[in-house]
Amino acid sequence: MIEFILGKYNYWICIALMMVGFYGMIAKENLIKKIIGMNIFQTAVFLFYISMSKVHGGTAPIEWHHAVVYDNPLPHVLILTAIVVGVSTTAVALALVIQIYQKYGTIEENRILELNRIEEEKNLEMNG
Amino acid sequence: MDIIISASPLYAVLVSLLAVVLIGVSGKNPNLRESWTIVAALIKFSIVVSMLPKILDGKIIEYTVFTMMPGLDLALRVDPLSMFFALTASLLWIITAFYCIGYMRAGKEKNQTRFYMCFAVALSGALGIAFSANLFTLFVFYEILTLCTYPLVVHKQTPEAVRGARRYLTYLLGTSIAFQLSAIFLTYFYAGTLEFTAGGILAGSASNTVITIIFVLFVMGIGKTAIMPFHAWLPAAMVAPTPVSALLHAVAVVKAGVFTLIKVILYVFGVDLLQELGLGVALAYVAAFTIIVASIMALRQDNLKLRLAYSTVGQLSYIIMAVALLTPSGITSALIAVMIHAFGKITLFFTAGAIYIAAHKTKVSELDGIGKQMPFTMFAFTVGALSMVAVPPAAGFISKWYLLLGAFEAHQLVLIGAIVVSTLLNAAYYLPIVYAAFFKPVPLGEGTEMHEAPALMVAPLVFTAIGTLVLFLWPTLLFDLAKLVLASVMGGY
């Protein structure tokens, strides 16, 4: 049992990080905190890939004359792409938050939803 | 049986769709617009009549329009059974077209172009139902008919009209989607085909329980038969202009309903299968219940059109009961009643419309002495009423006679009792009107001089009244066709 836990400690860390990020995305009201949660969430998955690619005793997958065992390079390549995607997502999210702040004057989700609700009620009244 | 491949049924269906386009284009010119309707009606009728000799020869005309999906064809087939409905609908369209013109112009209705367009589509739907070669085609036209009559019912666009039309649509679309479509799904799944075949397609393909379920679904799903408790749309649809009530709710729509049911009973289930399961008798009892209740309801109505509507509910159930008896005479009665009742009921609705236009009266209690003001109209009304009550020399007598014969053949004494009681009720709600019209004094303040509706309205109703009498005297054509149908569905008769 103890081996099961310790032997796969990298995955446990990934899972813990993922849950932290997930919690941040779901439970935080502040939009920036949501984005931070999202980043942690994504990074946890990146970490999962990278730790998965580790070969016991292997070195970095660079042509290197006295190395015999290399880590699996493919997940690195994949994650490079995923990181770019993650950065883009963050960029879009931040841009949105900036806009939201300009239009609503707040970045607290519950406050924004409340403002939306007020507006909707106003519209309904106008329509009779 | 010889099969002729010919596109003439398709033309018969399409001619009014073509008219729709022409009517829509010439919306600005009323005379041209109305003449398109009449031309289309005449062409339609002549195409139908041109097919009659071949049918009487015992031949069948078939035409597959296209295959929609594997196993689902849009196909038309003209057989003796379809002729009953096709002849009725196309002949009465001509007459109604004239009546419409008189009514709509006299009433200065709005949206007349839409009205005529939908009317023409409705006729396409009716003929499509008459000529459909399989359940799928029938369902297609059934839905077309429902949808295109909606604008006709809602025509006045008053809140009341919208409410009535909603109910109309809810009942017809609701039952057809919820029940009829599931019945079709089940039929296709178990029988593997939807083709109408004399003797039925379901026999032996599924357990008795499943067949019973399918039958119940069909009966409930064909809401246009107005069998109780699915009848409420018919009175609700009376908010429509009278020509609509006349053609659609005495002929096209409701007859499409009973025609569909007849077709399903004879060509999907088959006489033997239903007899074996005892489903026919069960349906006959439901119909008998509907007849009695509807007659009592009709008795309580003061609004003339509503009284006619409830009378329609009852009369339709006569036809259902007749076919549900599954005996030769019963089926004959059902078939000929499709045409006979149409003539009688359309006369009655025409008169109701004429009274509304000429005297602005809609209530039964206001009709005292109106026979003096509108002698032609009330004469026609009398003939129609006699036909409904089944008094010779009106044609209604023949169909009821065969119905009674059928009930005797099936040894259903309770049903005979129901027929007798309901006939008395029919008399009770029709004859007082006739009595009041001719023998009661005119109310104070109204003259006794002739005050008929426009000639374009009176001529059609007199024509249909005479038609009712003619059908009594020369019903040969009806019986010839009925024999052909019986030969195919019961074998050897």
Binding site: A60, I62, E63, L80, V84, A91, L94, A95, I98, Q102 | -
Partner: protein, 145 residues
């Protein structure tokens, strides 16, 4: 106030002026070595972009926006991607599959592959750098408003 202070900050300016060329050279090195060693368009592009960001940080937004006009970054954005896609399509015209570099008209197919990859890395590098700069300017400028 803050702006002026930034402009007057001579240490920062000088440090930036000294380091930026080396950063950019390093960026080019990283881009150019993508096909064999660790590195490539993404990483090099980010470094290249960072050098411009450093410039803006040191010299202030006004100067930065003057030097790095928006239309330039926009065009570079597109050009980088088009370079990438263009090389791919070029391979089609030379009879290969999409992005099959070894058909490029160079004596040795291995060299052709290398060249193709370098071309693509350059394209990626340009786009990434331009995007980094755009992102920085857009977010930072909005804060100033």
């Amino acid at each position: 106030m803050a702006k002026r202070k930034m402009k007057e900050n001579i240490i920062r300016k000088t440090a930036a002026r000294l380091s930026i060329p080396f950063i950019q050279l390093y960026a080019l090195y990283v881009i150019a070595h993508g096909e064999l060693g660790p590195g490539g368009g993404f990483q090099g592009g980010v470094i290249l972009g960072a050098s411009v960001i450093l410039f803006i940080l040191a010299y202030g937004m006004e100067e930065g926006v003057n030097r790095v006009k928006q239309w330039k970054t926009d065009v570079l954005n597109s050009v980088g991607v088009l370079l990438y896609g263009g090389i791919g399509i070029l391979c089609l015209f030379l009879g290969g599959k999409y992005l099959q570099y070894n058909v490029l008209p160079v004596s040795d197919p291995k060299l052709a592959s290398q060249l193709g990859i370098i071309g693509i890395e350059i394209g990626v590098g340009i786009t990434v750098a331009a995007i980094m700069i755009t992102l920085f300017i857009e977010t930072a400028r909005r804060d100033e408003k």
